[in-house]
């Protein structure tokens, strides 16, 4: 049985659908009401808050904390400024991808790492001869994502007044040590929706106060609590990969072919090779210089073809309303060249999208491939065009106002795309 998150008393009251799932052994809402749609539209048009406590968290403190993170992860963390976050990944000794996550520099000697899977002892086991204190804070820190075009106003209003201006000018991937109703709360401008958004981190005991503060602040902005179904639609639109879905961690791979290098899953840009030795570096150097086997791509599926296939059966086209996960074959003229692992009909882009891994020679943007679809119990194919990720990338995601207007109706954050 999963266990409740610190926000559970609030989410349980609101979750009238009783649609729960287990996320890392913690109860997580799939959708609060009958379906996820209004939660998704809140994410894209107003704001939504999502309990993301099940993320694994590791706090690293001490003079060598940056050094340890640089040794274990793909990035030279020593260069990360205080008050900044970065996205990165970490690999096994052969340079095969284990997991991806973020690192925030809270202080000169205090970092916080997030991970999809438990890796505390992986980091700890590499902390030999360095002056670092590691602490697995997964079960002690509650995390609340506030995402969407109005999230800036919502979060600002939830903070104590003296932090509101700093929040409004907090840049993309910035971090702010703030206070809410008298308790400490770290705010990072990060998220998994590919939109303007923040994640709020506080000690478990303040979780309900934080929820209430955000809820109250969000009332005027149309904030809704959202579940994982809405989040998953937005993460596919954002083109983000998910460990265990779009790639297999080298730790879980049953055969070598299931492992991937960061280059194969599209995380090559997070790998900083030209620096002091780090875990997996020589393997990564090989992966970079040798033509690697596969590449992760975005696919836009042809709607007209799909519609015609349904039409041939006398049916209107039908698509699942939620994002799908699985392993669907992807073909070129010569045969199967890969698989699609996530997909969704994007209500915002009005496009049928998928994320998949294909042979490297088929990964160029514009390449015409085919993906299998199931139409009235028949396995058929439709065209799938390799396209750039993110599929959905609104300017408001990165845009930060120079000063701190009390209202931002005229700023790009009010625009849809």
């Amino acid at each position: 049985m999963p266990v409740p998150s610190p926000f559970h008393p609030r989410t349980a009251d609101l979750c009238t659908s009783l649609a729960w799932k287990s996320w890392a052994g913690i109860f997580a809402v799939e959708h609060f009401g009958t379906c996820h749609e209004r939660e998704y539209y809140a994410l894209r048009h107003t704001a939504a808050m999502i309990d993301v406590t099940p993320l694994y968290k590791i706090d690293l403190t001490g003079p060598d904390a940056a050094k340890l993170l640089a040794r274990v992860t793909s990035r030279d963390i020593t260069k990360l400024d205080v008050g900044r976050c970065t996205y990165l990944c970490w690999c096994d000794d052969d340079g095969m991808l284990l997991d991806d996550g973020t690192v925030t520099r809270l202080d000169d000697e205090h970092f916080r790492l997030t991970a999809a899977e438990p890796y505390f002892h992986w980091f700890e086991s590499h902390a030999r001869g360095v002056d670092v204190e590691l602490s697995d804070t997964s079960a002690r820190i509650a995390s609340l994502a506030v995402q969407g075009p109005r999230s800036r106003e919502v979060v600002a209003a939830a903070l104590e007044p003296e932090f509101q201006s700093a929040l409004r000018t907090l840049p993309f991937f910035g971090a702010l040590a703030a206070r809410v109703r008298g308790f400490d709360c770290v705010v990072t401008r990060t998220g998994y929706t590919g939109d303007l958004g923040y994640e709020l981190w506080t000690a478990n005991e303040f979780a309900l106060e934080l929820w209430d503060a955000v809820d109250l602040a969000g009332f005027a902005h149309g904030l809704l609590p959202a579940g994982l179904s809405a989040l998953d639609v937005s993460r596919v639109e954002a083109g983000f990969i998910l460990a265990g879905v779009d790639y297999t961690s080298a730790r879980d791979a049953a055969i070598p072919a299931q492992k991937s290098s960061p280059y194969e899953v599209g995380l090559g840009w997070t790998v900083e090779l030209d620096r002091e030795d780090f875990i997996g570096r020589s393997g990564l150097a090989k992966s970079r210089s040798n033509p690697h086997r596969r590449a992760t791509v975005g696919l836009v599926l042809d709607w007209n073809e799909l519609e015609r296939l349904f039409e041939a059966e006398g049916l209107p086209p039908e698509l699942p309303s939620t994002a799908w996960r699985g392993g669907v074959p992807v073909y070129s003229a010569s045969g199967q060249v890969g698989r699609a692992t996530s997909g969704v009909w994007s209500p915002t882009l009005k496009q049928n999208l998928a994320i998949g891994m294909v042979g490297r020679s088929h990964a160029k943007v514009g390449t015409k491939l085919e993906m299998e679809v199931l139409v009235e119990y028949q396995r058929l194919r439709i065209s799938a065009t390799v396209s750039k990720r993110p599929f959905f990338d609104p300017p408001r995601k990165r845009f930060t106002p120079k000063n701190s207007p009390s209202s931002s109706h005229s700023s790009p954050s009010g625009e849809l795309v």
């Binding site: 287990s22 890392a24 052994g25 438990p118 890796y119 505390f120 002892h121 879980d252 049953a254």
Partner: protein, 533 residues
Amino acid sequence: MKQSASKSYDAIIVGGGHNGLVCAAYLARAGRKVLVLEKRHLVGGAAVSEEIFPGFTYSVCSYVVSLLRPWIIRDLNLVEHGYQTIPLECSFSPYPDGRSLCRWSDADETRREISRFSTRDAEIYGTYGATMARLAAFAKPIIDSPAPQPASLDPRELLQLFRLGKNLRDLPADLLEQELGLMTMSAVDFLDAWFESDQLKAPMACSGIIGTFQGVRSPGTAYVLLHHYMGEIDGAFRSWGFARGGTGGVSNAIASSAQAFGAEIRTSAGVDRMLVANGKCGGVVLDSGEEIRARTVISGVDPRLTFMGLVGSEHLPDEFVKELTRFRYRGSSGKVNLALDRLPEFACRPGSSAHLRGDIAIAPSIDYLERAYDEAKYGKFSRRPYLNVVIPSLVDSTIAPPGKHVMSCFVQYAPYDLEGGAERWPEQREAFGDTVIDTLEEYIPDLREIILHRQVLTPWDLEQEFGLTEGNIFHGELSLEQLAFLRPVSGWAHYKTPINNLWMCASGTHPGGGIMGAPGALAAKAMLKSGAL
């Protein structure tokens, strides 16, 4: 001397244990006329369910299934004949300090349970399981085919050996290292390389010692850890289950299948000796004096009983006898079966029964287990033994009256060679039973009050009643030097014996013990292939 001339059989199978029955079924399926002779009043051997106390069915000896080969289940239509399994949901271990650990099928929940003892172990536990499962997958072909004969020049043997060699060569480097460790290390040394918490390692190490006269720190015990990862139910590896109606349910299904194929089964028909003359076996003589002849005789009992008991060593080559004598049995376990008035409650987890629906290990620490072994080394049963307890009536309604329960306790160590001689066991039997109850009472304080009936089986009983030499539940220890082409005697690992027309088909042959059925099936196939039948 009576003689039953009315019938002539292609094969007589001595012993109606599950392997004898599997062998009979395969031979009957191939159109051979087969007779199974069982000494007891019911078939199953050590895989048997009996209503010892009215209303309560005990799995008298073996108590869980997993290793029964899936291809045997399919070949013999066992499901049609009543074979049903119910999965064990978890593994529960209580500790004297009031804490406890339950390992569930839910990985996240297991991680949470383990992290109360060690967060490091919790993080790595899933990887350990995956690694063992991968290793077991490499080893699986070995238990599904006859043992390779490394000294043979037969091209078929060489091909088989080559395949296994290739299998091993294809192991990734990290797995090869683990594999070599498994072949040589003790269970504790092997687990030490993975885990730090005693509370986790102790119950895990137990699968390395079950049925052997070794301690968890004895080299070679790591291999048996892997043996337990080869189990599979419904294609899911590493899962164990209860057979509905007790483990006798497995034997009954096989017997029913064998009969449907035309095999004949006679119970209460103990074999006194085999008819051997001029190096050939021509039939058997029953305890009643009845003589039955057949083209071949197949032994479904263990090698010692077969050759020393039923054939007679005077008919055998010296070297063979010498090796047979060296083959180690050294039964180390007993069994206590209880009928309970109600569900027992563990003091450390009151008010719930979810954690009791799997197996329960009384193995609180490595030292506890090693100490239990120490006592056995010097001829005493462990004062505080390792117990593997199951309460199958929680998930199977057919074996106890409503609200009442059956509790099965596998007990180790109970050395066959008790101080003063094995024949002293009958006078020690109740004291041995008391030890088990005393041990359990430390975790279930009111256990004594709810016991309606108790059955105690010592290694001596296993030998006298079930024909298991020295009470060894595997027909000879499962240690590396007694496996594969060395089981039971090198050069004689392919079910043949030095006596013409006499074959072996039980756990004393490759691939060994457990309710696996592979020896019986592989023996039948070997006989049919060689033209012996």
